[in-house]
Amino acid sequence: MSNNYFDIIRSGINSTFQDKGREHLYHIGIPFSGAMDNRNYLMANKLVGNKLDSAVIEFAYQGPHLKYSGEKINFAVTGDVIFKIKKKHIEIEGNCYESYPIENGDEINIISTNKSVYGYLALGGEFDIKFQWNSCSINMKANIGANNGKKLDTGQRINLKKINSNKDIKKINYLNTKIENIRVIKGTNFDYFSEHGKKIFYEKEFVVSKLSDRMGMRLEGPKIENIVNTNIKSEGLIKGVIQVPADGNPIIMLSDHGTIGGYPKIGVVASVDYDRLVQMSPGSKIKFKEINLSDAETLFKLYEMETQNLLSQI
């Protein structure tokens, strides 16, 4: 029995517990999972005074509507998200990147993400949830992680097993930037594609399809022509790999991807752009720009320094 808990009045479209994910399990078929947008995940935890690798609720498009019961705690929302806080006599519009106190009977209603996909809700405390392989991250495909590996459902109750004693309000000014080009490194099967196909890949616009989720992002656009073989012997995948199946439409592997695949790899998204890639909602236009390995490494270092700098300001 816990004295501090949330009742889910509305679960939202795809609300799951996530943290930093799992390692050393690709060889048995289990992907990293974990929060899709790592920077926003870390900032959410920092804003409520949690350890940076604590569990949060990740939501896509429409988030959950929760009613809280218990002692006063803080919460924060990160991403580009519209949400409301309902107290006894008032309802206020919440701001992302700012922590708020909630008390017994208060409600958090996460209406929607704004021209983006994922948002994060962190609470100043610890959820009472199951961990598997050192992570609570829900992998719906293999039913692994908290909540029996299933997304959150309306009517459920989520208990907290601990709440933070420090209840300082924290805030940072941060704006999620959009990027025009997603930088990619040449894939291991780049030469499977015709000169024309390679040109299309780097010069034309693609549109993010509705058939995108935590496993992969499907793109629509001009077909990329393969001149060698539309299948390869199945081999390992990592997040960010761009596969092109026989129909010529690229698919980008995301955090819950299958660990093995048999389509040629035309490119891999540079790590620096992953957080912003996953936030591109269906209908968004996407263009790829080639960069080399050493530039990708330098750009990631800068991005990581910026993340650490933001965290230190909170």
Binding site: H27, I185, E235, G236, I260, V268, E297
Partner: protein, 224 residues
């Protein structure tokens, strides 16, 4: 033994052991996999062995391509402990309730149902890799006269436990999943068990698998 090492993006090393699929190449992949896994190099956070490739993923915050590549080039795989391979028997029921693609396989191979099952059951299989979905084993090799292509249109849902064929391989669907392999039977046992965190996979790369036919009654009573 590694023919070529290159980068897969900025956070993985791609080790190419050749283009053929055979036990000898795959054993080399598994040897490297075991040695690297054993030694725990800083920053390496995942290893994905497959038929003839090994992908080594790392945390770009802790290391980089050149460091991991030099490390892979420097390791002595002969030092590595050889994996302990097991022989595993998998009960399979090929009743028409489960063998939804047997007719297609009969037509494609021009063999009778009895002959197909006879060929399939009287054979030992080698586990080349596991993955795609958690714990799914890729088992080879089927005889040349037993090789069929994938379904033209993959199924949206293949039932859990399905035993299926494609080209030179057999596999077992550890979860209900989309898939395009030719289903010829179903096993009542759990090939993947996430509650056993130290050993969730029943079948691991390098293991030998034999399928033993059971009747529908035996299937139904299996977990009682």
């Amino acid at each position: 033994m590694i023919k070529n090492i290159s980068n897969l993006g900025d956070a993985a090393v791609y080790c190419d052991f050749g283009i053929e699929v055979n036990k000898s190449i795959n054993s080399n992949v598994i040897k490297y996999f075991n040695s690297i896994k054993e030694k725990k190099f800083k920053g390496i956070n995942n290893l994905t062995p497959s038929y003839n490739k090994l992908i080594i993923s790392y945390d770009l915050k802790l290391t980089n391509f050149n460091e991991v590549k030099s490390y892979v080039e420097s390791i002595n795989v002969t030092d590595s402990i050889t994996s302990i391979s097991k022989k595993i028997e998998i009960p399979v029921c090929c009743h028409e309730m489960f063998s939804m693609d047997i007719k297609r396989v009969e037509e494609k191979l021009n063999l009778s149902r009895e002959k197909i099952l006879d060929n399939f059951l009287n054979k030992e299989y080698f586990c080349y890799m596991t993955g795609f979905i958690a714990g799914m084993p890729f088992l080879g090799d089927l005889d040349k006269n037993m090789r069929v292509q994938r379904l033209e249109t993959p199924r949206v849902k293949v039932p859990k436990g399905s035993v299926a064929l494609t080209e030179q391989f057999a596999n077992i669907y550890t979860f209900e999943s989309p898939g395009g392999w030719n289903v010829i039977g179903n096993t009542p046992i759990d090939v993947f068990d996430s509650s056993k965190e130290d050993k969730p996979n029943l079948i691991n790369p390098g293991d030998t698998v034999i399928f033993k036919e059971i009747t529908l009654d035996q299937y139904k009573n299996f977990n009682e």
